[in-house]
Each structure stands twice: as C-alpha cells, then as structure tokens.
Symmetry: C2
Subunit: 147 residues, 2 copies
DNA sequence: ATCTTTTTGCAACCCGGTTGCAAATACAGT
DNA sequence: ACTGTATTTGCAACCGGGTTGCAAAAAGAT
C-alpha cells in the first residue's frame, strides 16, 4: 500500500506515468494528478469539471491509455458511470480494485474502504476468476450525520 | 428461493406483477416473461432485441416501474449496461441482488451464482449499509471449454 | 355509451463518451 | 538549429443507450 491519498508531489505523478511505459505529456500529468488529488474513484465527467482547460476527448484518451497500461483501476458504482482510481502499486495487472468500495446513495460519492479486502468466494471448478468488484451501497458517515 | 429459472407459466408472471401492486398490462407481462425466460440478468438492449414489437420507450417504462415496485433486481456487470433480473421473492425490498454474479469477459453474459451468497464485510460504525453488489469477472465454463 | 384515466408508440431529445480529421506539438537525425 | 516524421491535441461531428413530451389508443369507471 501507499501513503495517504492526496499527498503526492507532481514529481511522483510523472514517475508513475513513466514507470508504466506511458509518455508523460502535460495533459496526462494533469489527469493523473486530478485523479490522485480527488482521493476517491472519479468519473470522466468529474474530471472534465475539474480540468476545464482540457477537452473531454483528451481526457477520454488519457483514461483509455491509463487503463491499457494498468495505471488506473476501473470500477462501476451503480450510478451508471465508470470510475477511475489511480493505482500506485507498480506491478498491479488487474483492472479492478482489490478492496471494498462504498457508494453513498445520498451524495453519490464512492469511497474506497482501502483497508477492507474483498472476501473471496469459491466458484464452480470450471470458472476462471480474473477479478472481483465489491460495491456496498447505503448512506455514508457524513450524509448520515447531516440529518 | 424458487424453482429453476425459465419454468414459469404465463399465469405466474401475471401473478407476480399483480402481487407487487402493478397493473398487469400486455406489455408488462411480455417484459416480465422475457426477463424470466432469459434466465439470467438482462439489459434493456437485450430486451429490445427479444421484444421487437415493443418500443424501447415502453420497455424503459416497464423496467422503471418494475424497479420502483421491487419486482426486479438491478445490477451492473462492468459492461456499462445495467441488467435486470426478476425477483420471485414476494417481500424482497432491496434493489440489488443478494447472491454473487459472474461476468464472462469472453461472451459478455452475466451468470447468477444463485447458491453463493455474498460474504458480508464489516463497515465502519457510521456507514449505513443498504445492499451489496458482488461481481466476479473472468471466463465462464463454456467459453473456457471452447478453446 | 360516454367520460376519465392510464398506457403506448413515435419522434425528438439528452447525456456521457468516442472518433475522424486537421492543426499543433514533440521527437529524431543530420 | 532545421527539417522531416510521429505523436498528441482540440474541435466538431457522431454514436449508443436511454428518457421524455405529446397525441393517439386502450382500459376502467359511471
């Protein structure tokens, strides 16, 4: 695992990109940094709102590239939007996330329960398992306390 | 639980619809039956292909209604399409499915592992849990054997 | 049978996302 | 640094899945 979210220097985003064999263009660094600073799984739409100077097609292409090079994890949270999450582990080859996620039905945010690993189940013999998405839904702490 | 999928009489679909307080129109029975006969979680698009005589807006409205009346479970399988699954349990109030699902990355089908319940995790105190989506991904038995 | 309410199909629209293309930028070789 | 090649970018047009406004059709009530 890595240190807490949102505490990375620009240098580190550059490094992260290079390490995955992706050419570190200005846009790509911006997208990676936006993902990192968000601190939680982020949809393309949200990135467009954050990075107003970039065209949505550029962001789309960045994400596609990051996906292909395993720089991000991809997950669906039930809000029919795909979300992306930076992956700081160098050798991670799965596209999904390995920990539990929580989708708040009130505020629409998705949280990483980074310290709760996904409990695995036993599948029938002839199924090959590649990855698992575990999405819990309900009301998050801050929304709950607001009422 | 209920008997095996795809063995329901038309009468039963009618019953199911009525039991949930929905007026059983011809279209609604068709949609419910299509869902039931599919025997696995089905996307709106797939339903449109099956029910060529119905307009997609009619199907959309059926599904919205079924959702509101807890007649179907809703789940996302990672193919950016929402899938619907008939729920035969009368008093089920959750929108999600309670068992594990498996998405085959080769054929794109989603399978219900009806007999594998979702293992629950312990969330932080102040999170309220409503439901859980457990989606395993990989290669299904028949796709694996084809190679 | 007539009036009222609900449901339906069509077309138009919406939203998130992708793609074709030409301009801009970065890179390589000399 | 200069020129030629490859990559990246922004724009606009497009795409797919889905929803909505509206008028016609069907169902229900009196």
């Amino acid at each position: 695992m890595h240190e807490a979210m949102g505490k990375h220097y620009d240098e580190e985003y550059l490094q992260l990109i290079k390490e995955h064999g992706v050419r570190p263009t200005a846009n790509r660094i911006l997208v990676a940094r936006a993902l990192g600073r968000a601190g939680r799984p982020t949809s393309q739409k949200e990135l467009e709102d954050i990075l107003k100077t970039l065209d949505k097609s550029s962001i789309s292409r960045c994400l596609t590239l990051f996906k292909a090079h395993h720089l991000v994890h991809v997950l669906e949270d039930g809000s029919e939007a795909v979300r992306y999450e930076l992956c700081w582990s160098y050798s991670c080859q799965t596209d999904d996330d390995l920990h539990v996620h929580f989708y708040c039905e009130v505020c629409g945010r998705t949280f990483c329960m980074s310290d709760i690993p996904i409990p695995l189940v036993r599948l029938p013999e002839d199924y090959t398992l590649h990855s698992v998405n575990y999405m819990a839904k309900g009301v998050c702490a801050s929304c709950r306390n607001k009422n």
